[in-house]
Symmetry: C2
Subunit: 349 residues, 2 copies
DNA sequence: TCCATTTGCACAATCGATTGTGCATGGTGA
DNA sequence: TCACCATGCACAATCGATTGTGCAAATGGA
């Protein structure tokens, strides 16, 4: 509208109104009553500011107030249904609080994780949500040095509060279902449930393996080492791993506990070569929910992790000022095959 | 390490080094040679700054330089494979340029779109990528008033450059495949291909319908209005729409062109009730790629949109200083059923 | 030896907001 | 009439960086 040359400031508005910049600031920042600005002045300043399309410079405000209004979050990846549902909730809650969300992905690269947290600190974010960090302790040190409130999501940190999915319960739920439906197979090697783990050194995976183990033992059986298969998280290695297993035991196992979405994705490349009828002697569960996985050629039980709860609890922790390493657990849900799960965000598709 | 009370500034570092703050600034911002700072001084300042864990205050720098180093992007939704692959590329390229990505989701709400762009302007982002806006012109006005460079993604704007998928070509590719494989069905109502459109007022959808129509007419047939079904984008309404169509024409149509991921998701609720053998007289294509959709109970042809190219081109436009309403088109690829497409990002799973 | 450069910084203004303080002005009560 | 208080602002310092300018000391050439 005005001049494309420069954005206007409270000084410009003040000149146009015939008032001082401090009056403009007081009016536009909402504390004009504290400063006893006359109502007519308030209206005038508001009118002129609106006419001029004034927009506050948050850098200047942040500098003065030592509070940026930015809410930081790091996630491993945007391009992932799981993490992106966290960002979605995070962004929503940030906006509701008048904050501007800054969500950066680290690509699971520890060096990049550090750099990104440093960047967020440079921009003076008021808090950080750390989700799926590979080296939480290093980030912890950075945040502590900068005196920056932070909360861990899904992977607990040492000296700060965390919100995690109750992986043990979720794994129990899924394992019980698998064992309940476990078809009878004569071959002992094929009659057992197998756990495709990605990597058991992950916090979440370790908890899930524990839940799986507990349910198997509840049923009077035992879990041998060969039932826990660590194939990493890349689809390719998952393809190789399931192919190798099926060759070794002479077919699909009676039960499959798949720990991750990418592992299931990789298995698909093997499954398409399996005759459909073979799936009738196999029950598959995945610690992950996907609407298409719900409609594959064979039934898949899934676990849905409540991302909205996860983020809501994390904000609550932050706002309650907790800094102890409290851990809050959120319960996941079991989703039956051929079910479209209606998450609170699903209508946004 | 030091005091948890306050972050240290160039003034603190200067005091510790016995130099002036301007020397510290020059050294840490990299233009110490321009300012003829002695090398020994450079090393000293760097050493002390590192020891103290100094981190620059980007608010102060941005205020002074009138350049924040923030790269803004708005998308409708994080929780969507499609948009999140854009954010992934956007974040990567921003980081490579030393920028901090700020990606906000608008939930397709025009009011929120406006508020978010205003917020980004307040934070003085250096540029904005506008993806999937519902009201591009309103955002255009805001950006123009703030003199802010911006590029449109996937949906062209009026007065600024845009990068879009070549929806016409993509639709031609998919339509040709559908028509090539179209099974012979006696019933004329069932023998035709149907286009499930979401809403034809969308720019992208209109282009795709045109591509579909062009291929059908190339084959000497015509597209009747009842072949273009506008069912919105919610899974629920898609379920109802496909159910209604199948009832009306007495079964699955010979060809189905599904315009969107969420529409396909909604159709699944109907498809699971369809006997598997019925799919043999039907060919399905979807303008969207999903690894699980690649392995459904029936074959689905898919179109993969090159998100990495889309974003790369957009950065190129921005950096070349183009402000005309140029439109750059990126070619999509056809993906056959039972194929896992290896996108440049897929190894990150 | 002396003037002219060059070197190596320090000083102070500046970006645009917030905020502590101070000061006219007007009204009120004694 | 005068002291006194409330009202309605304006002034100036401040946040932490950048940057134009100035100036002493060192260096070099004649």
């Amino acid at each position: 509208m005005n001049g494309p040359t420069r954005k206007n400031t409270i000084y410009d508005i003040a000149k146009l109104c015939g008032t001082s910049p401090s009056a403009v600031s007081a009016v536009l920042s909402g504390n004009w009553s504290k400063r006893r600005i006359r109502e007519s002045t308030v209206l005038l300043i508001r009118k002129i500011a609106a006419e001029q399309g004034y927009s506050i410079n948050m850098q200047a405000r942040g500098l003065r107030q030592a509070r940026s209004g930015l809410a930081g979050m790091i996630i491993p990846l945007h391009k992932n249904r799981f993490f992106s549902s966290w960002s979605q909730s995070f962004g929503k809650l940030a906006r509701e609080r008048g904050l501007c969300p800054v969500i950066a992905s680290t690509l699971r690269n520890p060096a990049e994780e550090n750099r990104i947290v440093e960047t967020l600190i440079s921009y003076a974010v008021d808090s950080i949500f750390i989700a799926g960090a590979t080296d939480p302790d290093a980030l912890e040190a950075l945040c502590d040095a900068a005196n920056l409130p932070h909360v861990y999501i899904d992977l607990p940190g040492k000296n700060a509060p965390s919100v995690v999915t109750n992986n043990f319960h979720g794994a129990e739920l899924l394992s019980r279902t698998i064992l309940r439906d476990l078809p009878h197979v004569a071959d002992p090697a094929r009659s057992k449930p197998y756990f495709f783990a990605g990597s058991v050194t992950d916090y979440a995976t370790a908890q899930r393996v524990a839940g799986f183990r507990s349910v198997v033992e509840e049923n009077g059986a035992r879990v041998n080492d060969d039932q826990i298969i660590q194939c990493g998280y890349s689809p390719n290695s998952a393809t190789l791993a399931i192919t190798a297993l099926c060759e070794r035991i002479g077919g699909l196992p009676a039960g499959l506990f798949v720990n991750s979405f990418t592992v299931l994705e990789g298995m698909m490349s093997h499954f398409v070569k399996v005759p459909p009828e073979d799936f009738s002697s196999s029950v598959i569960g995945c610690f992950y929910y996907d609407p298409f996985a719900a409609f594959l050629q064979f039934p898949v039980y899934m676990v849905w992790q409540n991302s909205s709860q996860l983020i809501t609890r994390a904000y609550e922790l932050l706002e309650s000022g907790v800094t102890d390493p409290t851990i809050i657990e959120v319960e996941p849900d079991l989703i039956s095959p051929r079910t479209i799960h209606q998450s609170p965000l699903s209508e946004l598709g």
